[in-house]
Amino acid sequence: MPEAVWTQCRNQLQDELPAQQFNTWIRPLEAREDARCLRLLAPNRFIRDFVADKFAPRIAELLRDVGIQQDVVLEIMEARQSVSLAAVAGAVAAPAREAPLPASRPAPTLASVNTPTFGHAQQSEVHEALQHQHNLVANYTFRNFVEGKSNQLALAAANQVAENPGDAYNPLFLYGGVGLGKTHLMHAVGNALKESNPEARIVYLHSERFVADMVKALQLNAITDFKRYYRSVDALLIDDIQFFAKKDRSQEEFFHTFNALLEGGQQMILTCDRYPKEIDGLEERLKSRFGWGLTVAVEPPDLETRVAILMKKASQSQLELPPDAAFFIAQRIRSNVRELEGALKRVIASANFTRRAIDVDLVKESLKDLLALQDKQVSLDNIQRTVAEYYKIKVADLMSRRRSRSVARPRQVAMALAKELTNHSLPEIGDSFGGRDHTTVLHACRKIKELRETSSDIHEDYKNLLRSLTT
């Protein structure tokens, strides 16, 4: 009866420990018993090690008190069946390290997991794990993608690639801010390729997964499998490539993968939060290769597109969303599509909960915290006025074409503040400074970030302005 014994012991620990500690470390442990020992299963290695380190003596003591004579073993719970390679490979490698338990503990000891056996078994499991993933999200299709001015070019390019993979647009490099649909487009191409050829081996993954797979493969001595696998796909879709920055070994490995795929005419699609040349900590040869195919920006959606996105989402959930309610949400949530969808979810939850139909009143009610927050946020006007006053120049100077340092620097400070303190997109901020381009704003933000670290004057100015604008 291990569960009953463990429950008794656990109840005692619950009385002894603060609720938070109990819930973090003890609650997730599950008891199993076989002929030889009582097993305590922890959800991951971190919890297991922590419990082994901090609570093992007390647990051993308590179990002895209730008459448990067997050995008690702390193990890692086998992961729920999962499609994730990292999880599979992680589970394979999990028994690799011993839990840090000094051997000198009094009996009954909380020993660690069974000794790891390394070799072919793991390698073939890694191999299997590699074979099985494609990770395409089924509803990220072209059909579900809402076209607007902001993403027209990217959509056209993605369509081209879906029709002629491995052709002229290789790699297709999509870049832009967060939550604007880069990942959706990438999956849409993958799904389209899969539709026209169900046998096609399409692999989508986040750059972190590529890094993790490589590390795992190195650990398990399976780097050949890794190389073979990534070079054998028909299309490789890698998201958020900026996280390759400063990971030299991964870049090296990816560089070779890239060349092999390009040579073999296999399609690559990459996304990034910025233009390839602007990724710090990325090898030059990779940056230049990223530009060999087609590089397209995805911009934040305009109002009409945001409304269309909401209407589409609503109809997908078979939901009645009146146009004026959609318009109201779209007007207030400007930053990106992900947050727009979050707002819609909140409205739907309220509608379900109160059993009311969605209208503008319900929208206002359910989003009131979000909207109150926005109202508190600083306006562009206010930032421009405050900055001009601080530097003793005119607001008109900030809007002007003048480029002298005495005006240009305050303008950059104001732009950086606008990016930090408001929800406005880069193009919107650019517009409000006499119709400047969004790249100018981006440059200003980076420049000021850099100067805040190198110039104590700018650091001081920025801090003062931030304080006066937010209090």
Binding site: N11, Q12, Q14, D15, A19, Q20, Q21, N23, T24, R27, P28, L29, E30, L41, P43, N44, R45, F46, I47, F50, E61, D65, I76, M77, A79, R80, S82, V83, S84, A86, A87, G90, A91, A94, N135, G177, V178, G179, H206, E208, D239, D240, F243, D273, N336, R338, E339, E341, G342, K345, R346, A349, S350, F353, T354, D369, L370, L373, Q374, N423
Partner: protein
């Protein structure tokens, strides 16, 4: 072992006044969140609000309901450890709750690890519930990718309980312990106990134990005597 005195064994038989969904009082300010969490329909939920709004209680209660394998990670307990290790493999679980996110925000290692964890969790259908004092929009995050992902799920504000709510919670929790608290006595306790909900409920715990030990019902003189008010 001296600690296992007969009195404590006896106390162990009482129903626990635990952080469970049954022990959470539904109030107008939190009922929508409670329903969304309880129904399990949405796989990404973010709770925010001041202390005493019930964020930690709800996250712990979800883990309790999900059984072993659900993970509750409060920022204060895990911030000192390597973020990647803490979250490693957790996407294979059915539920991960991250409390006190404020304490992890602004830390580059934690933000990156949380962002990657979010992506892995989405791919493996791991439910992710998060709580912080501030909403995603004003949390001092450095990584916009993480902010937009946090804002993509269901976001609920949980208000701090006002006096009426504190009174309702006190009576409710007393009732869950099988104690009958007369309205005047509840008023008496509320007027004297500390304002924080945790401290208020600690008073209740103390009174409950004293009443059991002394085999006396809760009356105003008894409460005054136990609490030295």
């Amino acid at each position: 072992m001296a600690a296992l005195a007969p009195r404590q064994l006896f106390l162990n038989l009482r129903p626990r006044d635990d952080a469970t969904l049954e022990n959470f009082l539904s109030l107008p300010g939190n009922s929508a969140a409670l329903e969304a969490l309880g129904s399990g329909g949405e796989d990404q939920v973010y709770l925010h609000g001041p202390a005493d709004g019930g964020k930690s209680h709800l996250l712990q209660a979800l883990c309790h309901a999900a059984g072993p394998g659900a993970l509750y990670l409060p920022g204060s307990a895990v911030a000192a450890y390597p973020a990647e290790e803490v979250l490693s493999g957790a996407e294979g679980l059915a539920l991960v709750c991250i409390d006190e996110l404020d304490l992890l925000a602004g830390r580059e290692d934690w933000e990156q690890a949380l962002f990657h964890f979010y992506n892995r969790a989405r791919e493996s259908a791991c439910r992710l519930c998060v709580a912080a004092a501030r909403p995603p929009g004003t949390l001092p995050l450095e990584l916009p990718d993480l902010r937009s992902r946090l804002a993509a799920g269901l976001v609920f504000a949980l208000p701090a309980p006002d006096d009426a709510a504190r009174r309702a919670i006190l009576s409710f929790r007393a009732g869950r312990r099988g104690l009958r608290l007369a309205p005047e006595l509840a008023g008496y306790i509320l007027a004297r106990a500390p304002r924080g909900l945790a401290d208020l409920l600690a008073v209740l715990e103390r009174l409950d134990q004293a009443s059991l030990a002394a085999r006396r019902p809760l009356t105003q003189p008894f409460v005054r005597e136990v609490m030295s008010w």
